[in-house]
Amino acid sequence: MSEHQSVWRKYIFSLDHKMIGKQYLFLGIFFLLFGGFQALLIRWQLAYPEQPVPWWLLGFLFKGSGGIIDPDMYNQLFTMHGTIMIFWAITPILIGAFGNYVIPLQIGARDMAFPTLNMLSFWTMFLASIVLLASYFLPDGTAAGGWTSYPPLSLEEGGIPGHGQTYWTLALTLAGTSTMMGAINYVITVIRMRAPGMTYFKMPLSVWGLWLTSILNAIFVPVIAAGLIMLLLDRLLGTQFFLAGRLAAGGGGDPLLYQHVFWIFGHPEVYILILPVWGIVSELLSVFSRKPAFGYKVTAICMCTIVVLSSIVWGHHMYTTGMSPLLGKSFMFLTLLISIPSSIFFFNWLLTLWKGSLHFKTPMLYTMAVIWVFAIGGLTGLYNATVTADIYLHDTMFVVGHFHYTMAASVLFGGYAAISYWYPKMFGRMMNPLMNRIHFWGTFISLNLVFFNMMVLGYAGHHRRIYNPAEYDFIKPLMGLNEFITYAAIVLGAFQFIYLFNFTWSMFKGPIAEKNPWKSNTLEWTVDYPVPHGNFAEIPQVYNGPNEYSNPKVKGQDWVPQSVQIESAG
């Protein structure tokens, strides 16, 4: 490897998985802020319907309507908030950034199997981002049919006017292409590039999670790609795949077909988002409890089981579409089945903590937060999975609270855990622990206030995706709670700037990190910062599993790198 790479090669069109990972991280953080800002605007409207947005929420953006968020704008806001958070914030941060950064280092590889494909994947995502952002400048604004973009809302005829939806579909197709490129790379890299001795059951659980996520991506993104192509053709070439009824001249299609295709992908998608977090949590719990992950193999196998089950439960999103009761019950049964493997590894987490010597370093705090929020998210999922309960709860704020606990809160805390944990290897410096602690407590408390109360609202019948809740007599008594949630959300937003500040400031001013600040066993901690392109001077030979913490055979220290034979260590 030549030391004198041009700036372009090194920072822009880099082939190094570590640099590409950082590029994804910055892209994801940008969109996380952008999507979060939109969430606050949604919250403003729900608490103070049709009152001018204050200056500190950038009210001047809505000058045209006297500072008020009008109904069209409101629809655009929740649509783009959901789309951006899922596909442009969480996906790039967890899969793009940590998939890239962590997989090759932890399995002892020099790089991804296909570095050029890796680079192309990032730049395709970048292009997708430009298309998505461009839609904000269209005269009729962005897409507004929800992140699910159900027809007929998302169609030209009978749908929402303007080209925003076309841009949305195009941007998502591009993002999907990028994801598929990444998926091929990650799946093959894990299969083929593991260092000698790194068997599947010696892989760190983070790698397990990221790998299974990529397998799901490889299987299900192609399915939604087909749906998006058909949607695009409906919009551009006048086909009528998803248009039915009066508007459809000559035959007509079936909007339910779209819903099926969407959720065949969409349900695995939520596992795509959470699996990396499960893996990272399982691993960090072991690191910071200084003992092996309880039931390591069982956890890995449970995650595999969930991957399989997750592909046959999509119907639970469609109970209210008039499906036959038998089909509904089957989907309910299969969905409830998932709680078995989920509970097993959840108890494995708790048993990893049991009698461990817990080190409450900041990554550990975020990790423990995941246990809490995922427990709430997971348990409330059972209500949604039950047909009878869901018919009432469907399309209420209860669902919104539930999926924010699983998808937003768990994944967000998982992301914060991952960033804080790998920061020293990525940037060579430590983050400030005090700032992280303040951020942690502020986020943990306000986040629970926001999302738990959303479930309370929903339980009382508050619908989601409604413009002005105060128009409904039965919601009027809940408006106080709506205001409270909005204030909690604003506090939540404000605390994120502490993390952002810490993240940026520590990059330049943080104390220089040691090689292995957390005393971890995995291979990325055996190389010095800055890790060169190519990672390892010599490909390591792997002897031990990833979490041989406090092994009595190792004398003098409670950890042993995977590449050191236990007999000779210590």
Partner: protein
């Protein structure tokens, strides 16, 4: 970057590139299957569906199908050539494969052109199937939607395959492949056979059933 060989010998001796191509083909197949099953579901739900040979030119497309199957054969011959280090036969059969692909695309474009320009006999066929106008377009009922989506998505694959093989062809002409180095030819062949296989499905579903 040369990686010393990994711990896992999963999936035997296949090269990493070949493994990736297999995975890609599985993914691509899933997109196709979604489109095909979607089409079949919509067709079953439709009150009526035209007989295949009323609007479409089945004999012409049958010839096209035959042609594509031939190119699978020439692709096998090309691989066989390079494995025997027979450069001439590699280049010749790659060339024939590309030629077959180009003719296939030409016929498809001709067919599309004929439909989109429209004429009286087409108009008669359309009205016999319950459609108005004398042009057969993607907006001509669900029938047009399914026909154009499926065949054009496949056509794009043929186009990509032709470009892909052309790159391999140029490299082969420069003599970079031989009996000790033919992995990329084989991988390109996998893609081409896949496109061929999918066409047989498309042809059966759209033109025969």
């Amino acid at each position: 970057m040369n990686q010393t060989l990994a711990a896992g010998k999963s999936f035997g001796t296949a090269t990493t590139g070949k493994l990736a191509m297999w995975l890609f083909l599985v993914m691509d197949a899933l997109t196709f299957i979604t489109i095909l099953i979607g089409g079949i579901a919509l067709r079953n739900a439709a009150p009526s569906w035209p007989q295949a040979d009323v609007i479409l030119n089945v004999p012409l497309t049958a010839f096209n199908t035959f042609l594509l199957i031939c190119t699978s054969f020439t692709m096998v011959m090309a691989l066989n050539g390079v494995q025997r280090n027979d450069q001439k036969s590699l280049v010749k059969y790659l060339g024939l494969t590309i030629l077959g692909g180009v003719v296939f695309l030409g016929i498809q474009v001709y067919e599309y052109y004929h439909f989109i320009a429209g004429n009286e006999s087409l108009g008669a066929a359309l009205s016999a199937s319950g459609f108005s106008g004398d042009k057969f377009l993607p907006s001509t009922g669900m029938y047009g939607a399914v026909f154009y989506t499926t065949t054009s998505f496949h056509g794009l694959h043929v186009l990509s395959g032709v470009i892909y093989l052309f790159v391999i062809f140029l490299q082969a002409k420069n003599g970079i492949y031989g009996s000790d180095n033919f992995d990329r030819v084989e991988i390109a062949g996998l893609f081409w056979h896949f496109v061929d296989l999918i066409w047989i499905l498309v042809f059966t579903i759209i033109y025969l059933l």
